[in-house]
């Protein structure tokens, strides 16, 4: 029993918390006579203690890196590198017009990728989202244009249909027990067939000029106040939620972040948001599409991190049996997650139609699905379930779209180079995911 060999008590500083994690694993808990005797505050030196202030923040950061908890560091670093390279080589990559352009292009695939994040959290895959996106756009357009239906109603029917399709996949997976891979592969084929069927011999339908679908990804709040106002509200909201948590934790006598860290975090968020607002205002103003996309991510993030439902999704992703024994309705969670995925797929399809101007037979085909999955994974959501955040959809699709736009500006509009580079980035992301899992295991964290 090598586990129980007495390691001498560690005469270490609490700051050395990486070390202490390891020792915690191997040293018997009551080996320290002081600890055994003192049921009283005496802090066990092996416990993870966060130092106050920036020094503690740095130590914690180092410990996380060593332990393989990379979070979104690789993707943010990658994004900065990509932007720097293209800016240097083209000289106009970071122009407001180009960034605005990127902001428009990421919305559709990004929404689809957000749905994929939910499914990946369960450790499953949804291959049908591209076809669902195409079908939704086609069906809504056909209803609105060919059947002369009210466009709002047509869009609503399209989205409800997309959610229903997701629920159907979920039903076959969770209730019947067909592997999600196969169910959604069937969906991938079937729904793109239905898309062609719905379109009939008109293979392409232009959006109604000035209609709902037309506006989704082309409408801009051109008033400068809109972008700055929303940025101010977002920063205020973030600061309030941070401060509120700080206050409650302090009141409950729990470890809490120091005010300096709160100020730093809020500062960073404020800089990011206001720079984005400034850049957008230099061009057309605040785009409706981007606003919807970020709102969906904020909502999804809240649901996943702060609600019972989100906790249950993570629990099912982390261990189905444990979740079931805890009384969680696994079938319902699975069906609901596929429903969300289908709905966001459909919503993404409408935004893609809006951005390209037409709902045609190609929409949602090609590499739409693959890019959405790649975006979620590049952004840092694990393929193995139970780890990830909706923000990874935004970061991942930003990386992919930046590569595409950047290469296009370089003059190589051929898909060949784009695909090869995107493929390499995806491989790098998955390698990082696997390697970080391994080093997490080594550090006892996976």
């Amino acid at each position: 029993m090598s586990d129980t060999v007495n390691t001498p008590p560690q005469p270490q500083k609490p700051s050395d918390s990486q070390e202490s994690t390891k020792d915690q694993k191997h040293a018997p808990v009551d080996a320290d006579p002081d600890a055994a005797a003192g049921a009283i505050p005496a802090i066990d030196p092996r416990l993870l203690v966060r130092e106050q202030g920036f020094a503690g923040y740095l130590t914690e950061f180092k410990r996380k890196i060593k332990g393989g908890e990379l979070g979104s560091i690789p993707v943010v670093t990658g994004l900065i590198v990509i932007w720097a390279i293209f800016q240097i080589s083209s000289g106009r990559f970071l122009d407001p017009s180009n960034l605005s352009n990127i902001a428009q292009y990421i919305v559709g695939p990004g929404l689809i990728a957000t749905g994929i994040v939910f499914v990946l959290l369960l450790g499953e895959i949804d291959l049908s989202v591209g076809s669902v996106a195409g079908l939704t756009a086609a069906a809504s357009s056909v209803l609105a244009i060919k059947q002369d239906m009210n466009e709002g109603l047509a869009v609503l029917i399209g989205l409800v249909g997309a959610a229903a399709i997701g629920a159907l996949h979920g039903f076959f997976f969770a209730r019947i027990g067909v592997p999600a891979f196969v169910v959604t592969l069937a969906g991938f084929l079937g729904w793109s067939g239905l898309q062609l069927f719905v379109l009939g011999n008109t293979l392409s339908l232009n959006n109604i000029s000035g209609g709902i679908i037309y506006h989704l990804n082309n409408y801009y709040f051109s008033d400068v106040a809109a972008a700055y106002g929303l940025a101010a509200v977002a920063v205020a909201g973030y600061a309030w939620s941070q401060w509120n948590e700080h206050r409650r934790r302090k009141a409950a006598d729990l470890p809490h972040r120091p005010m300096s860290e709160l100020a730093l975090r809020t500062g960073v968020v404020a800089v990011l948001v206001f720079v984005a607002a400034y850049v957008l205002n230099q061009e057309d103003g605040l785009p409706l599409g981007l606003t919807v996309f970020v709102a969906v991510i904020v909502l999804a993030s809240f649901v996943l991190r702060r609600t019972n439902y989100g906790r249950q999704v993570f629990a099912v992703g982390g261990g189905v049996e444990a979740a079931r024994r805890a009384g969680i309705n696994v079938v319902w969670i699975r069906i609901s997650v596929f429903t969300i995925s289908g709905f966001l797929g459909g919503l993404g399809g409408l935004f893609i139609a809006s951005q390209s101007g037409v709902a045609d037979s190609n929409l949602g085909g090609g590499d739409t699905l693959m890019l959405a999955i790649a975006a979620a994974v590049i952004g840092g959501t694990s393929l193995f379930g139970g780890r990830g955040t909706p923000w990874s959809a935004l970061l991942g699709i930003l990386v992919i779209q930046s590569i595409m736009t950047g290469l296009y500006m370089e003059g190589s509009s051929s898909k060949a180079v784009q695909s090869m580079i995107t493929g390499a980035v995806l491989l790098a992301a998955v390698v990082l995911d696997s390697v970080s899992r391994r080093s997490q295991k080594a550090a006892g964290r996976a």
């Binding site: 586990d3 261990g319 805890a326 139970g386 550090a443």
Partner: protein
């Protein structure tokens, strides 16, 4: 023990098809008492535990809770009475932190929004009263050792304020020191006035913490021993069925005399 036992089984039988898993089994567990349930493989320990936990309803006999007959048909019924079962495979979610696991399935909060602060506070209080030491309540279960996971699983059973805790082989996969931690915890449960039913293969563990040892053999009672005045050999003899010894003979004689 004058008070009615927290849990009493009277003549419980359970049949699976042609297999008679339990025959006429009696068992009593009082508050503040640790009863060890021992027996060879296939003796019916797990089946007995599952009847109490509501996984398998009993065919015959009766179950009394605080002296009143009750029926346990579903796991939900058992939880409602105050039975908490910690199974051998702990069923914790590796990716969630300790607090999330402790409250999994009964999260605190309002209107489906989690109250992390309240949960963390209660988690700390609970772990402190049990003198459980883990590096932090906010690290994932994956980073805990086997013994720490076991104590977290036991602590999790206590979140619902049960009266009876059933531990299925809590020390089977643990090292010496970790086993000691878990046994300490079992004693603390007893000090808190809980009834504990401990299933174990390990005689040393049983002798260390149990007050009484109930032996099952081939689905039948094969003696209940006070740990204080019983030797390992007597218990093992009861388990293996080498029952032809002084204790059993005297018992049998006593029983005849009563009749």
């Amino acid at each position: 023990m004058s008070a009615a036992p927290v849990l009493a089984l009277r003549g419980v039988s359970k049949r699976f098809g042609a297999v008679q898993a339990l025959t006429d089994v009696d068992l009593e567990v009082h508050a503040g008492q640790v009863v060890a349930l021992v027996g060879d493989n296939g003796a019916g320990k797990s089946t007995l535990v599952k009847t109490i936990a509501g996984v398998h309803p009993i065919d015959e006999g009766s179950i009394e809770w605080d002296g009143k007959p009750v029926s346990i048909a579903r796991p939900h019924d058992a939880q409602g009475l105050g039975v908490a079962t910690v199974y051998q495979d702990l069923a914790l979610c590796d990716n969630l932190d300790v607090v999330a696991n402790l409250f999994l399935g009964r999260e605190l909060g309002r209107a489906k929004v989690l109250d992390e602060v309240a949960m963390e506070k209660r988690a700390k209080e609970l772990l402190d009263t049990l003198s459980i030491r883990i590096p932090s309540v906010r690290i994932p279960i994956a980073s805990l050792s086997g013994g720490q996971r076991q104590v977290v699983a036991i602590a999790r059973a206590l979140v619902g304020e049960p009266k009876l805790v059933i531990l299925d082989e809590p020390t089977a996969a643990l090292g010496v020191e970790q086993t000691a931690q878990v046994l300490d915890l079992v004693e603390r449960l007893r000090e808190r006035g809980l009834a504990v039913l401990l299933i174990s293969h390990n005689m040393a563990d049983v002798k260390a913490v149990a007050d009484e040892v109930a032996v099952l053999r081939l689905g039948r009672n094969n003696g209940v021993f006070k740990v204080k005045d019983t030797t390992n050999e007597e218990i093992i003899a009861a388990i293996t069925g080498a029952t032809d010894n002084a204790v059993t003979r005297r018992k049998a004689r006593g029983a005849e005399a009563v009749k």
